[in-house]
Subunit: 249 residues, 2 copies
DNA sequence: CGCATTTTGTTCTCACGTTCACAAACTCCT
DNA sequence: AGGAGTTTGTGAACGTGAGAACAAAATGCG
């Protein structure tokens, strides 16, 4: 009976190139880029093979979680040996979709937009900034990171021309929803929002939010709890609650 | 027997000013700053009272979750009426710890560090940048956001002088672990890491990681799945998996 | 005063994510 | 070839989080 449950033997592999029961949990998806980076670091150090323990250490997770995460992609390791660094790296990159190049537009070229435009990590990881947009006429025409800033109204044209699917919002909070609406209207289906505001989008559009001050506030909360070394903190620590959450990596 | 298990009846309320079984789930802690911002927005619009439904909409969550989150803090609403905006705002701010001012240092004044130093959202939310540090002598002495950039070696002195508990790392990846070690060594217990690297810290130190390209990679994954409009995507959609994860806000 | 209405706070159930523990599978050595 | 040693992949137990649903408490109206 157990033999029948295994999915990668014989008949099943005759499916299309991408294989069977492919529902990767969101938590796993969020860690795949971390593994990818760790593998790249290992490869740069000339390491050809690694165990789940090695990779887990490099990625800052425990090895059981790593193995389970990888198991959602397929069986890319060899028991008793470990993983081939380059092979696994390619498989993860393919799964995430960074073997191809993704064009992105950045809207809002203030402090943060400026920094994002100059951030080399995008380019090196499969993302290409095809345009910088800003509604402020004073900024339009300036060149940032070798890219000319264009008026926000050019969004339609640019998105159509480059077939852009991913947009980055780096505007002040009050402009964020308008920008998002406009992006969605043109067919952008993934948004990375740096503006400190909640943006509502229709179903089918993904939004991820990066909020600098929220991260600090979360740290402040834990910091405050640590500082209150009183009775309640002690009680919490006794339960092992202290190290919970964003704790030791 | 069940009666004995209940924790908040009678005697327990005679504890110290902060009340009893105070274990706020990490997921809730992460949302409190969002509620805080939504409340501030409501207050700015002159709204004095709101229902959980109103606030939930403003914060982009559902009202049941909001009420449950708030219930961990205490009973600050009035049944049949709703919440007093200012009162609730103060309670959340106090819980997070942003009624006081938190001094922070930023290490690494490159693209991103520059943007962070200029980010007004920190100051307005209870965080004060007390120093900018960089190891590069060429940057030291420059002024960014009205703050002079100082050599990294001044870290000890600055942290002691201002009693800094929170450090921000905005260096290149290869320097991140060194900076973190140094920070931890001086007594910093909360780190916000923008460098694209995993930093290991001892227990008791909180690290939060903000990684721009990882966020894009997560979006790329979902984008790729949407694009593969084939059989597997259809099967996933039938399960309602499509909108999962970072989906509609 | 009592009743209908509103809205909170809480309980219950289910789904998701993490961790443990172990069998399966591979290598290496004798 | 066979056994000892390694390491993966996964089943099962556990803990946390989300959402539905409802009881409790407040208001307002007749």
């Amino acid at each position: 009976m157990i033999g029948w449950v295994r999915l990668e033997s014989g008949a099943v592999t005759t499916r299309s190139s991408t294989d069977a029961a492919r529902v990767i949990p969101e938590a796993t998806v969020a860690r795949l880029p971390v593994y990818l980076r760790a593998l790249t670091a290992l490869a740069d150090n000339g390491i050809r093979t690694c165990s789940s323990e090695d990779l887990a250490t490099a990625a800052g997770v425990n090895s059981a979680k790593l193995r389970k995460d990888l198991s959602y992609l397929g069986s890319y390791g060899t028991r008793g040996v470990g993983y081939d660094v380059d092979y696994l790296r390619y498989q993860i990159a393919r799964e995430i979709g960074v073997t191809q190049d993704w064009p992105v537009v950045i809207v809002g070229i203030g402090n943060l937009g400026h920094a994002l435009a100059n951030y080399s990590g995008f380019r090196s990881r499969g993302f290409r900034v095809v345009a910088l947009l800003d509604a402020d006429p004073a900024l339009v025409g300036r060149t940032v990171a070798d890219i000319a800033v264009r008026p926000f109204d050019d969004l339609d044209e640019i998105v159509r021309e480059h077939d852009v699917a991913i947009g980055v919002i780096a505007t002040p909070a009050h402009a964020a929803q308008d920008v998002a609406d406009r992006m969605v209207g043109i067919g952008i289906t993934s948004i990375l929002n740096f503006a400190p505001a909640v943006v509502a989008v229709p179903e089918g559009v993904d939004v991820r939010k990066v909020d600098l001050s929220i991260e600090l506030q979360i740290l402040a909360y834990h910091e405050q709890r640590k500082a209150n070394g009183g009775a309640e903190a002690a009680a919490a620590a006794a339960d092992g609650v202290d190290a919970a959450g964003g704790g030791a990596a």
